[in-house]
């Protein structure tokens, strides 16, 4: 049937949506480091759909994070992001955080909780010849012991360094623990690498809400369109007062391997 289908770029008259605030906020705790709790908040505005300009960055908002003891940390704007003025204390399993953004007389609030995990065990690689879906090359695989006592959601990041070219794997890779609960989890990265590359694999433990947000982000950003299209839907954000975006709290664990 592919033979009969054609596409063309068309003009569509879309009603101009009202400008809304978009907040991308993350607290990321590195499992392997005691001082490694990082946070950033990025605030921007929506554009009309066919406006190709980068979104307007909001630089004059008042941004703070509260931990579960009510301790407030202010975030300051620099280089397009809001960064904590003082480092955040290392959180534990179940630690909750609240984000507060004040802008233009409006207040936007979001909360999320940390789910810890036992981290990555190892990162290995193996050579594969070309097959129908994949190029030949060295493919890396992450291994981790899954915690059977909790409902867990994970995200994977992958970075490849080759002759000073540093590239980040562009796909949002997430999974729940339905299939492996309590077992051994392995995740193969579908990107071929070569001898001489250094490959970094990162696994993050994210909340159920963030998993749902990213799952739907994937669905909408990679919507195949046509008869196989997903229902166009807005993402299930967790920020109050009509702000778009998400406030996530996660723990990450990273390993690397040199391909020889």
């Amino acid at each position: 049937m592919i033979q009969f289908s054609c596409t063309e770029i068309i003009e569509v008259d879309l009603n101009e949506g009202e400008k809304r605030i978009v907040i991308e906020a993350k607290i990321i705790d590195t499992l392997e480091r005691s001082d490694g709790t990082y946070a950033y908040v990025k605030i921007s505005e929506t554009n009309s759909y066919f406006n190709a300009n980068r979104p307007q960055v909001v630089s004059n908002a008042e941004v703070s994070i509260y931990d579960n003891k009510g301790e407030k940390t202010s975030l300051l704007f620099s280089n397009g992001l809001y960064i904590p003025a003082t480092p955040l204390a290392k959180p534990t399993n179940g630690s909750s955080f609240t984000l507060e953004v004040k802008y233009n007389g409006q207040r936007y609030v979001a909360s999320n909780k940390l789910t810890t995990f036992s981290g990555l065990d190892s990162l290995s690689y193996s050579y594969k010849p070309k097959d129908a879906l994949f190029e030949e090359g060295y493919y890396s695989k992450l291994f981790a012991k899954e915690d059977g006592s909790k409902e867990n959601y994970y995200r994977f990041y992958f970075r490849r360094v080759n002759n000073q070219i540093d590239s980040l794997y562009d796909i949002i890779a997430i999974t729940d623990d339905n299939l492996v609960n309590g077992g051994y989890l392995d995740f193969e990265i579908g990107i071929p690498t070569q001898q001489g590359d250094r490959v970094y694999g990162t696994m993050a433990s994210i909340s159920k809400e963030e998993y749902n947000y990213l799952y739907n982000l994937n669905k909408q950003v990679n919507n195949p369109g046509g008869p196989f299209a997903n229902q166009p839907e807005n993402l299930p954000g967790n920020i109050s007062n009509g702000a778009l975006g998400f406030f996530g709290v996660s723990q990450v664990s990273t390993r690397y391997v040199d391909i020889r």
Partner: protein
């Protein structure tokens, strides 16, 4: 069971004994058949001139009339056949089988006018659609593939779910709300080839009728419509072979008598050869692909005695799509029907049927580390008993029962090969028992007023199959507790009454007013993650978490015959409860153990008015229709609980269908279709998250697709068999063009970020280490229209000898 029916019958006999007069009455019964093939003619009219009473033959061509002693003239008419007149002197019960001769050539308009039966005006039923199969064959259709579903979609109140799709939207109802029956067996998915062709092979279909409303109590189980399709019985006079060669597929039918004039068989097969062309391609990327379908229909009937007939029929069809020998997708329907017709007395006609039907689909991937096979299926085994009691010409009583066992295998993933990293995963099997009992009474209250009222009682039980069931929190998102249902244990009982009513009032000899009401209960629900018919339909039963769907529909119509034209206007209102949809931001439904968590149920409304003018016979035939309709949904958890237009809510629909026979050899047909665009969700803004451009959408289905319209043409050239001439066989060429003026009707409009090849400073395209061109997202967003069929010519050659 038998006792219940007997009791029911006795009650009805008592209730309607007032209709019986003391005058001695005799009964004349019989079958109305095609003189040439011996096939029974369904719905032919048997009219008594003297008493001005008439009956129509049932789906087995059987009629029964009770009259006082006397001399009568019977007039038997059927569209496209020569009217048969027979006088009889009724002194005792009589059996008269009538053979009707097919009209040799199209009649002139005067004869047509005289020959009119005014059946559309006189019969009680309304909101039905049927198109003579001979007319269906003339309608220009996509790639010349004769399709009754495509013909039905040209009628008011019936819409196609997208360009070329055989999925039907009937009066604003969902796709899964259509009961599709082939020789009484449920066809779960009527589509071939991603929905562009239906499973019904035009060569083997005898007759069909679609009920959009006023559904008789003998049907149930789906809430919007019933499409009742019957296979041909085969010629019981003469052995014959017929077939056709088209652009898409070839067909071959063999039929003939088993015992002359008593029993016959028919076998018909159809196969596409698209895949053979693909294999011939020298390009490896193409020759490793396959796409196609085949199906096989078979039927035999046996006359055991004057009172007993046996029918066996079956359908088997399959679709296969494979990409690069790596990705496979396939689905298929299978049905089997065994029926026994028995005439107990001259007045009591019975039909007992055993039915099996099954639908399965699967897909698989064959790459070294991730090979798997996925499959799912739904099946049912049923026993059905239907009785018609012809009390007298003014009173007919129908009653019966239907008991079915449903079984579901919602999904199973099997890793294949030794080194697949995937794990075996399977959803629990499920089973259910559905039963229904119905009765209806058709009575002529006066010479003008006729009513058929009835009631259906249906009940549904889940049956344990060692499956887990869940109880969810009020918001339907969290599991509160889990239960294991022992094999054979019953749970989740639901039942209800479904009243049905049809009333006809004859205003005069050429016009009537009709009214109907029906309540339908539906216990099976289909969830499809995508809109195309890829066969990935997930059927789920009603359960403690999923309520049965209920639809109430009221319709009023005015029917008028003006000369050779039949005109009607019908208006309807339908209220649907517990309609199903996926909730906002739902999870994947495949292999989802708690799929019930992903669906929500709510209300739906549909209403509209349908105008139709039809010219059923003569040299020029055809119809024109206009429909004005609206359909919406309100479901908590979908579109944040706000009311939204139904996806296939099309406001206006115009159909023009015309066919002209120039002479016995040449006929020309044309269609024109106009439909308002369907309801869609478009983005109204964009933003960035993690550097990705994310669309922000309108409310659900707030926008409209551009209007759809197209014209089709077809030319049929016949070479008729002529006695004593050299031609031994009949043959015809059908040339057709779909979408003559090549309109690029939007199949979908999608929005995406523009992707462009990455170039270096010198303007050369950058390639990665593996030689693949690198792309980047430009940040510019664009709207992309996909259109499918613009100007598709085709030719089909049909033969018969």
């Amino acid at each position: 069971m038998k006792r219940i029916l007997t009791t029911l019958l006795l009650f009805l006999l008592w209730a309607h004994s007032y209709g019986q007069k003391t005058l001695p009455k005799f009964t004349v019964t019989g079958l109305v058949k095609d003189a040439k093939t011996g096939e029974e003619l369904i719905g032919s009219s048997v009219y008594v001139k003297e008493t001005k009473q008439g009956v129509t033959t049932n789906t087995y061509g059987f009629y029964s009339l009770s009259l006082p002693e006397g001399v009568y003239t019977l007039q038997v008419t059927y569209l496209g056949y020569v009217t048969h007149t027979q006088s009889l002197n009724l002194k005792a019960d009589l059996r008269i089988d009538i053979k009707l001769e097919e009209q040799k050539s199209q009649l002139n308009e005067v004869v047509v006018k005289e020959n009119k039966t005014n059946k559309n005006i006189n019969e009680t039923k309304m909101s039905t659609v049927s198109v003579d199969i001979k007319e269906v064959k003339k309608i220009p259709i996509l790639m010349g593939e004769v399709d009754i579903v495509k013909a039905v979609q040209l009628m008011p109140g019936v819409q196609s779910a997208g360009d070329g799709s055989t999925n039907m939207i009937v009066r604003g109802g969902n796709i899964d709300q259509n009961l599709i029956l082939l020789d009484e067996a449920i066809v779960y998915n009527p589509s071939h080839a991603v929905g562009f062709f239906s499973v019904f092979n035009g060569d083997v279909i005898k007759d069909f009728e679609l009920y959009k409303g006023g559904i008789p109590s003998s049907f149930g189980g789906r809430s919007s419509s019933v499409m009742d399709v019957r296979m041909r019985d085969g010629n019981n006079n003469k052995f014959g072979v017929s077939g056709g060669i088209g652009v898409l597929s070839s067909r071959l039918t063999v039929e003939g008598p088993i015992q002359k004039e008593k029993s016959s068989f028919i076998i018909s097969g159809r196969r596409t050869y698209f895949d053979l062309f693909l294999k011939m391609s020298p390009d490896e990327n193409i020759n490793q692909n396959t796409a196609g379908f085949y199906d096989l229909n078979a039927k035999a009937n046996f006359t055991l005695s004057q009172k007993d007939r046996l029918y066996v029929s079956g359908y088997f069809g399959r679709d296969n799509i494979a990409v690069a020998n790596v990705l496979q997708n396939g689905w298929g329907n299978q049905t089997a029907t065994l029926r026994w017709n028995h005439i107990y007395t001259k007045k009591l006609f019975s039909n007992v049927t055993l039915i099996y039907s099954r639908f399965d689909y699967g897909f698989g991937l064959d790459i070294p580390s991730q090979s798997f096979n996925y499959k799912a299926e739904i099946a049912n085994k049923s026993i059905k008993a239907d009785y018609t009691y012809y009390v007298n010409p003014k009173n007919t009583i129908r009653f019966g029962s239907w008991i079915t066992q449903h079984s579901f295998q919602p999904g199973e993933l099997k890793p294949t090969g030794d080194n697949s990293i995937l794990q075996y995963n399977k959803l629990d099997k499920q089973a259910a028992l559905e039963q229904a009992y119905y009765v209806s009474h058709k009575v002529d209250l006066s010479s003008r007023l006729t009513t058929e009222y009835g009631v259906r009682f249906s009940a549904f039980n889940n049956i344990g199959a060692d499956n887990k069931t869940y109880r969810f929190s009020a918001d339907g998102l969290d599991i509160l507790d889990t239960n294991v249902r022992r094999t054979g244990s019953f749970y989740g009982f639901v039942a209800g009454i479904e009243p049905r009513l049809n009333v006809k009032y004859s205003v005069n000899s050429t016009s009537s007013l009709k009214l109907s009401y029906n309540r339908m209960r539906q216990y099976l629900h289909m969830i499809s993650p995508v809109t195309a018919s890829t066969g990935q339909d997930m059927w789920i039963p009603s359960s403690p978490n999923i309520k049965p769907q209920i639809a109430d529909q009221i319709a009023v119509g005015y029917f008028k015959n003006i000369g050779v034209f039949e005109a009607s206007v019908e208006t309807y209102y339908k209220y649907m409860q517990n309609v199903i949809d996926l909730r906002d931001n739902s999870n994947a439904i495949l292999l989802n153990k708690t799929i019930e968590r992903e669906v929500r149920q709510g209300k739906g409304h549909a209403y509209g008015v349908e105008f139709l003018v039809k010219k059923p016979s003569g040299k020029t035939t055809g119809w024109a229709s206009y429909t004005l309709a609206k359909s919406d949904r309100q479901i908590d958890g979908v579109n944040q609980g706000k009311t939204y237009p139904f996806r296939f809510d099309r406001r206006h629909n115009i159909n023009l269908v015309i066919s002209h026979n120039f002479n016995e050899r040449i006929s020309l047909s044309a269609n024109w279709i106009f439909a308002s665009g369907e309801a869609v969700t478009f983005p109204t803004a964009r933003y960035e998250y993690e550097g990705r451009v994310v669309p922000q959408f309108s409310n659900r289905n707030e926008f409209r697709m551009p209007s759809y319209h197209r014209a089709d043409l077809s030319l049929t050239v016949n070479r008729k068999k002529q006695e004593g001439k050299v031609y031994k066989n009949e043959s015809s060429w059908v040339f057709s063009i779909y979408n003559v003026y090549g309109r690029k009707n939007a199949y979908s409009i999608t929005f995406r970020e523009e992707k462009a090849p990455l170039k270096d400073a010198d303007g050369n395209i950058v390639k990665d280490d593996f030689g693949k061109e690198k792309y980047y997202y430009t940040g510019k967003t664009e709207a992309v229209k996909t259109y499918l069929f613009s100007f598709v010519p085709s030719v089909t050659y049909n033969f018969k000898f």
